[in-house]
Subunit: 188 residues, 2 copies
DNA sequence: GGGCCTATATATCGGTCTGATAGAGACAGG
DNA sequence: CCTGTCTCTATCAGACCGATATATAGGCCC
């Protein structure tokens, strides 16, 4: 899914500037599933304007640069509905933390524990994070999305708490060196 | 995390060609959390060789182009351990499906149901997918990683099944057209 | 008042990564 | 025999991220 499509989606819910589009991703539950940087939002809005899918109205402001408020056109709405009709690509869960856990035996035990603590903390913060709603709170779509994220976060926390011993425990209670690992592999 | 680091990690578990590195991501549980394309793996291996972090040995093969088997050096191992010592970036869960659900009211009801069916099916396939292990199956790291992915998949499926009615149900039981949506918004 | 952080707001840019594509022989199935 | 799948390397356009620049207002601490 291109950033152009993401922008059309947000603008479909109401006019906004490039800055506001970014903020909406950061501060609403959509941000758990999709994001975009300024470096892709601004060029996308320019292209969308050229293609006639959005219109731009510059609002003069004191001090700050003009606020360019973008609105979706009928043509833009049609393009968005059309983009929503193609099959979505598969979900991607990217986690450097998980990758690092594969190599837990290269790290000192306290480092592993610290990483897991940090990971759980991050998920807990996501659970309590206050967010404004992109759609009205009573919207079923918004509820569905919010709950989807929360369900995944809760599952991750639960798993980490219940299974952290797998990577924290040491077979013989001492730090595993490269030499020890080789020896172990040989006997296995 | 750069692709160079991902390659070092895989090579740390055993020598491999660029092709094999890609396959290992696809066919093992690590692929649930990290991935890389050929377009980034091959240049990464070239750079790693230049930097002396890996060595390359070309094995002549009948018919096929030479198989370039890369092995990690001591310098490479040190670099990898060093890379594992920096704090991981936050997990990212990217889902076009979730984004589309925000706009469920723009889609025909049967399309929404179809999307959810497809999503559940994809997760079920991930649950039963046969994978070879990057590390020996009895490795606790491998178990931890495999379980982490499975826990998240299971939670996603459970949530989708229990809450799909939120986006499938219609307030008045009829297909919502653009005109109907406008009318509804006016009365709300 | 000075220093500093945060927020609003647009915009650019180097470097990185993806996804598609190409080429080329092997090997299996219909 | 032909088509598809597999192994293997490799490239490239286009998309995207993260950092940075610029400029101003407002709040906070000392």
């Amino acid at each position: 899914m291109e950033v152009k499509t993401l922008c059309l989606g947000v603008l479909n819910l109401g006019a906004a500037s490039g800055y506001e589009i970014k903020k909406k991703f950061e501060d609403s539950p959509v941000g758990d599933f999709m994001e975009a940087s300024y470096g892709s939002i601004y060029p996308a809005l320019t292209k969308l304007t050229e293609e006639g899918l959005v219109t731009c109205e510059a609002q003069a402001q004191e001090g700050r640069p003009d606020k360019k408020v973008y609105s979706i056109t009928e043509k833009g709405k049609a393009a968005f509905v059309s983009a929503m009709s193609v099959s979505p690509s598969e979900d991607k869960y990217r986690s450097e933390f998980a990758f690092m856990m594969l190599f837990a035996d290269l790290l000192a035990p306290h480092q592993v524990s610290h990483l897991i603590d940090l990971q759980i903390l991050r998920y807990r913060q996501k659970q309590v994070e206050e967010r404004f709603q992109l759609l009205p709170p009573e919207s079923r779509s918004a509820q569905f999305l919010e709950g989807y994220g929360q369900a995944v976060f809760a599952a991750a926390i639960k798993y980490l708490e219940e299974n952290r011993h797998l990577v924290e425990a040491r077979p013989n209670g001492k730090t595993q060196t490269a030499a020890a690992a080789t020896k172990e592999a040989a006997t296995a």
